[in-house]
């Protein structure tokens, strides 16, 4: 066998001395890399490095979006006259609601309702304490800003937590799962951040579809009342039927309490209602057209539980059929400016509601129409 010295001597004396020298270096490096690559744990460390880099880039975007939402909230608070705007924004960002105990589900709806209402009241109280003369529209804009800031801050902190945990435990599988959801979370966060601008300007959003349909009926009603918190109702006659229309009280950015409102109205009428019609925006599946309309049965409402169940319970108590009309849109379209396709769909939904009343009720009946959704920029 030829020794290394002989090989080198040959390399130095031959006409291709320098190329052989480089070939040898390449060969040694290649062998060294192959050996290192097969060492236990090396590959995993490389995977962790690449996955972490990818997550960190998404995390940087989430951090920027969270900071931007905070700055916008501070700006809105300062514009409204708050002297402790930074302190308030910090409080909103870190606000939390503890979920009710669900291993014992008895009465969970009432407990959930209490926690949701307490949280809303507390946020409102914090705002009104600093800005006692605030008008309801600006207050609702600050409340929505606070919710968006809270959501973005939570997303950022949870992603950061799992990134640091994955790196600390050197767990490729934690990081791999995180890497697969971060692009979705970044897209969601970008939508929230854009939604904040839209709500601050008071522009109707895609989710305002339900209140817009209700407002078309309420426009000509002079006598209106508040059946529950942040809800408005109006009674009119439609082709011999008594039509009671309900929506959140606009143009504030609020969804109101539609469940409680329907419950109160039906109880006051002692259950003498022939039909409940609910209209809401709904999330479309990929491939479906924005503004496409579908009709079904049940309460059309994207509620965590208390409002939707209130309608279901009162309807079941008095055996009242519930119709649902939905207009499809993406999650982003639901929380940003109402697309033209959704506005055009609202006109068709008004006609559909009239058709349902004509076909499924008779003169003398009482019908309830509920326009579900955020009524930002849509009064009555």
């Amino acid at each position: 066998m030829i020794s290394m010295i002989d090989l080198l001597a040959f390399a130095q004396t031959s006409s291709q001395a320098s190329s052989t020298y480089y070939y040898l270096i390449f060969l040694i490096a290649w062998i060294a890399l192959t050996v290192i690559a097969f060492m236990p744990g090396f590959q995993q460390k490389m995977y962790i490095l690449f996955v972490s880099r990818d997550i960190e880039s998404g995390l940087a975007k989430l951090e920027n979006l969270s900071k931007s939402a905070k700055n916008k909230t501070i700006e809105l608070l300062k514009k409204s006259g708050a002297k402790n705007a930074e302190e308030l924004a910090d409080k909103f960002a870190e606000w939390f609601v503890i979920d009710p105990v669900n291993i014992e589900p008895t009465d969970i709806i009432n407990r959930m309702k209490l926690l949701i209402r307490t949280s809303e009241d507390k946020i409102r109280q914090i705002i009104m304490l600093s800005l006692p003369n605030l008008d309801p529209v600006t207050r609702s804009k600050i409340e929505v800003s606070a919710e968006i800031l809270n959501a973005l801050n939570t997303i950022y902190k949870v992603v950061r937590h799992y990134l640091l945990l994955g790196k600390k435990l050197q767990s490729y599988y934690i990081l791999l799962q995180l890497q697969s959801v971060v692009p979705i979370l970044v897209k969601m966060a970008e939508s929230y951040e854009r939604a904040q601008d839209v709500f601050i300007k008071g522009i109707p959003v895609g989710d305002s579809l339900g209140p817009l349909v209700a407002s078309r009926f309420l426009m000509n009603v002079n006598e209106k009342w508040n059946p529950s918190r942040e809800m408005v109702a109006g009674e009119m006659e439609f082709e011999g039927r008594k039509l009671i229309v309900l929506k959140a009280e606009g143009p504030m950015a609020t969804v109101g309490t539609p469940g409680e409102a329907v419950e109160n109205v039906i109880n006051k009428l002692e259950g003498k209602v022939s039909r409940i019609i609910t209209v809401d925006a709904a999330a479309k599946l990929e491939g479906e057209q924005t503004g496409s309309i579908a009709e079904g049965v049940g309460v059309a409402m994207g509620d965590p539980g208390p409002e939707k169940i209130a309608i279901e319970r009162v309807a079941a108590k008095y055996n009242i059929p519930i119709d649902a009309i939905i207009v499809k849109m993406s999650m982003e379209e639901a929380i940003t400016e109402m697309p033209k396709e959704v506005y055009e769909a609202s006109e068709k939904v008004v006609e559909m509601v009239k058709q349902i009343i004509r076909e499924r009720t008779k003169p003398g009946d009482t019908v309830i129409l509920v326009g579900v959704g955020n009524t930002c920029g849509v009064a009555q």
């Binding site: 008071g202 522009i203 407002s215 426009m219 982003e332 697309p339 849509v378």
Partner: protein, 62 residues
């Protein structure tokens, strides 16, 4: 929605006359809401009210 698709949309306010069929479209202004009374009809002097506010593409599809 991507940055490019955001730039391609504009928010408009559609006003209608309470009495005649007059309709006008203008860019959205902060403070607009449905059905706010805003201005008068050039045809018959009746109040104009905001009928719709929506986002539409800057270049309409043919």
């Amino acid at each position: 929605m991507s940055q490019s698709s955001q730039q391609q949309k504009t928010v408009v306010t559609v006003l209608k006359c309470l009495k005649c069929s007059y309709t006008i479209e203008r860019p959205f202004k902060e403070g607009d809401f449905i059905p706010k009374i805003d201005g008068t009809c050039p045809n018959d002097g009746s109040p104009l009210y905001i009928w719709a506010i929506y986002a539409k593409p800057l270049v309409e599809k043919k």
